[in-house]
Symmetry: C2
Subunit: 235 residues, 2 copies
């Protein structure tokens, strides 16, 4: 009876669902680094027990998205400059390989998916919905990982993209030029032509630009209400 797998009812969500919802909130920058994640509040939001929420928070902390401080609770990870650079550096290392694999083995359907993603991102950007555009921009990189057909790389990229989001919201340049708009499209062109080497170096530059656009002078921001972020059934 309590089985309702695909339903949109507000039945208690599974552990994985909660994890993904929180990750989504992180990549959408609806929760900023340093935000305290009150356990009971989250339990109330997702209608689960403390124990279950604890597991989710543990998983988030294992993946570097949340920092657990003894007796103080869970906080959205706010990386220092070193860690931020390590995240970007890891992406350069991993994504070069991913791009190479995609350039060598991608099919027409894969290109179509990438194309659609780029279209959606442009659409959002032109409509001024920048946050949505950023989200699609991140999904582009996850798409590349998916196209390799390797679920391990896929999970890894989801993690790295999420951490990148946190880093960006911490250190992004307020006068953000975000000038690397066309990179995804250019990359897709190279992939279509199976030009692995140019695609790889473009990805490298792409991430270099992202890193260069950051200014490692932290700014403070803490005000966040969890209940307004996760819009669920009220009262």
């Amino acid at each position: 009876m309590p089985r309702r797998p695909a339903g949109k009812t507000d039945s208690p969500p599974s552990q994985g669902d909660i994890y993904e919802q929180i990750v989504d909130a992180l990549v959408d920058q609806r929760i900023l680094p340093g935000t305290r994640l009150n356990e009971l509040a989250l339990c109330g939001v997702f209608k689960v027990s403390r124990r279950e929420m604890e597991k989710v928070l543990l998983r988030l902390s294992f993946n570097g998205l949340v920092t657990l401080i003894p007796n103080r609770g869970a906080f959205v990870a706010s990386s220092d400059a070193n860690e931020a650079r390590a995240i970007l550096s890891a992406r350069k290392t991993v994504e070069a390989g991913i791009v190479e694999a995609v350039a060598l083995r991608a099919s027409g359907a894969d290109f179509k998916r990438l194309e659609q993603n780029i279209a959606r991102e442009d659409e959002c950007r032109h409509a001024g919905r920048i946050r949505e555009a950023i989200k699609h921009s991140g999904e582009f990189h996850i798409l590349l990982a998916e196209i390799t057909g390797n679920p391990i790389l896929c999970d890894l990229m989801k993690q790295l993209v999420a951490r990148t989001s946190l880093v960006v919201s911490l250190y992004e340049n307020p006068n953000g030029l975000s000038c690397w708009h066309g990179d995804h499209a250019t990359l897709l062109k190279h992939l279509r032509a199976h030009k692995a080497r140019p695609a790889m170096s473009l990805m490298q530059r792409h991430l270099d630009h992202l890193e260069e656009s950051l200014v490692f002078t932290p700014q403070a921001d803490t005000s966040t209400d969890l209940r307004t972020i996760f819009r669920r059934g009220e009262r």
Copy 2:
């Protein structure tokens, strides 16, 4: 046999210590895939509470080293052929990048560490302590990740090496030639000469050989549990 650096002998080990000890046991192949990890037994061994052990098992499962089956407990992950290939494939992708970085940026002290590792492995192998040799062989790859100076890549490689150990103990060819002995030494030579490209392709071949040495025909199963083979009792 210092299990813990400068610590009280039998003081309750921390979460991370337990995690690493179990991972060590996995890479040493002292625990085989499919083995059931009895929670209370582990609590007794490590002198910790069930709750703490639960966290360790959760972390192991998040990292793909252990499978948690509801109401049945924790089992050392036994990958199927697909997952095994995904692990090796992920390693090819990641380690190519790592090797490139090392070739470009490694110093003399780094080369010394690699050299010592190779020496230790050879020593063990010639002394017939093959298990120890295998362990050092895995550590070589982790060393490479450490030399990049990127802790994220380092953790990732620890995880991938551990999963590889599980895969190897599942699918290794009984007539194991393990013929790729000299690869590490040759790789080091390339790294010393800053020859990134040859080093990368050698690493690729190295992992290809490892994969080819595996036999994915369901042999005498180490899976202690028949139910995981014949999918009965689901739902």
